[in-house]
């Protein structure tokens, strides 16, 4: 019973953390981008205001499948928040005793498919083009994070979440070649996971008019935007959980602050790379992912062989 209460308490804490802090991180991203572009930029709280503005607008539905549109909007945020419950943020993962890494991989993939559903439900030519791009990208990108988790599980010889996280990417005794390799792969792919330049092919504004999200406005768009901000938070958290050794001071608050600081650094790097790059085309992007995929498989092989 005590375990259940603790799990419930930390789950709520994680959710609140994601919901509160993700728009703040987005605001910092926009501010840093603005500094690079020699302008003042919006205030840091702008993302909160944007979400609020969208939520109070009229909920208009267009097209043949309004139910699917509603569902995909809700699914996108819900899936990411579910992932947040499985990642340690300052403490151990809230649902570590109730879930394992396979569920984590499933939920990550589910979050990715919500954009596909959104594009299909809208049905306009540009959203279908965007959806087919997203599908191509997903098929080559999602396996990378799955391989990273499985590799960590191989090292830890367990699928339990608290075994996989906490730096299990590096086995204890000798030089962790597989760990370093997979760290490199995921580092190079982080930009793509959070959907930022040069890999924001699916939301290419100038080419396909926002792609899958073209037909969404008002509260549904707020949910998609929130999901995107939460994605940045959750993926950086996942990266830290997998590859950064956990520093535990015993106090929840200091652990949390350290965690947030690590995230902020990661986010800064992502933002700087995004601000200084042009968007790649879908075929160039897929080629890039395939190379990373092959390297990831190599890392997995090394892990299985014990290195």
């Amino acid at each position: 019973m005590k375990g259940f209460v603790a799990a419930f308490f930390y789950s709520v804490l994680n959710l609140v953390l994601v919901l509160l802090v993700a728009p703040l991180f987005d605001g910092i991203t926009r501010k840093v981008t603005a500094v690079v572009q020699s302008r003042k930029g919006p205030p840091i709280t702008q993302s909160y205001i944007d979400l609020m503005k969208l939520l109070i607008k009229e909920d208009i539905e267009v097209g043949d499948s309004p139910v699917m549109q509603r569902f995909s909007a809700l699914l996108s945020l819900a899936a990411i928040l579910s992932v947040a419950l499985l990642i340690p943020m300052g403490a151990s993962a809230p649902l570590a005793g109730y879930a394992d890494s396979i569920l984590l991989i499933y939920l990550l993939t589910l979050a990715g498919t919500s954009v596909l559903l959104a594009g299909l439900a809208a049905g306009s030519p540009y959203s279908l083009i965007g959806m087919s791009r997203e599908m191509m990208a997903m098929m080559t990108l999602e396996p990378l994070i799955a391989i990273a988790i499985i590799m960590a599980a191989t090292h830890a010889a367990s699928l339990r979440l608290d075994a996989v996280f906490g730096g299990a990417g590096y086995p204890g005794t000798h030089t962790p070649w597989s760990g370093i390799l997979i760290l490199g792969v995921i580092a190079f792919a982080l930009q793509a996971f959070v959907g930022r330049m040069p890999f924001d092919v699916t939301e290419a504004e100038t080419e396909i008019m926002e792609g899958p999200l073209m037909e969404y406005s008002g509260p549904k768009l707020a949910l998609f935007k929130y999901a995107r901000m939460a994605k940045m938070f959750v993926y950086t958290a996942l990266f830290i959980a997998l590859f950064v050794p956990r520093i535990s001071t015993g106090f929840y608050l200091t652990d949390l602050l350290v965690f947030l600081a690590e995230q902020a650094v990661l986010m800064l790097v992502v933002t700087l790379i995004a601000a200084t790059h042009a968007r790649y085309r879908i075929d160039q992007v897929v080629r890039y992912y395939i190379i990373l995929f092959i390297l990831a498989l190599l890392a997995l092989l090394l892990a299985v062989l014990g290195s």
Binding site: S38, R39, K40, T276
Partner: protein
């Protein structure tokens, strides 16, 4: 080399600093020659209609109410702020001000009406001082633009006409 150009670009951006201006919180002054809203000074106007003849947008209307009274109406709706009226005015009665924040929900705010007391020329009833062969529509005499409908009418006569004007592009010389 690839990384080098990206680093060069970033340094370029950061060296420039922030260039956002605090307008509209702080006012933004304009240079001396700036062509803002034209201001018509009724005290200096002699009613020669040079401005109306040369406004490319045809936004200055002239109508003679009687022998002594000429109305000059600047509508300002399609005004392009080109400043030709100010160039041509022989009395410098039109100045291009520095006002550029001219948005208003009431069109009447932009309109300027001048009522000019005219002297009478014995020969033709009115006189127009030419600025050059290219600066005239060759309309001498009394003018009858349609003020209530805010329309230009290309018609002038040597005498005052009480009939309502119906046709357009019908220039009568003298």
């Amino acid at each position: 080399m690839y990384l080098l150009s990206k680093i060069r670009e970033t340094i370029l951006c950061l060296k420039a600093g922030r260039v956002t201006l605090p307008y509209p919180v702080n006012p933004r002054p304009v240079p001396e020659r700036f062509r803002g809203r034209p201001l018509f000074h009724p005290d200096k106007c002699i009613g020669c209609a040079g401005c109306a003849n040369n406004c490319p947008a045809r936004e200055i209307l002239i109508a003679d109410q009687c022998q002594e009274m000429r109305v000059v109406m600047y509508l300002g709706r399609r005004c392009t702020y080109c400043g030709r009226c100010a160039d041509l005015c022989p009395e410098k009665a039109i100045t291009m001000s520095h006002e550029y924040e001219n948005a208003t929900p009431k069109i009447a705010d932009i309109r300027q009406d001048l009522e000019i007391w005219m002297g009478t020329c014995q020969r033709c009833g009115r006189c127009f001082k030419n600025a050059g062969p290219l600066d005239q529509l060759m309309m001498k005499g009394y003018r009858f633009d349609d003020l209530s409908a805010e329309l230009w009418v290309y018609r002038s006569r040597a005498y005052l006409d009480k009939e309502p004007v119906v046709k357009d592009i019908d220039i009568e010389l003298g």
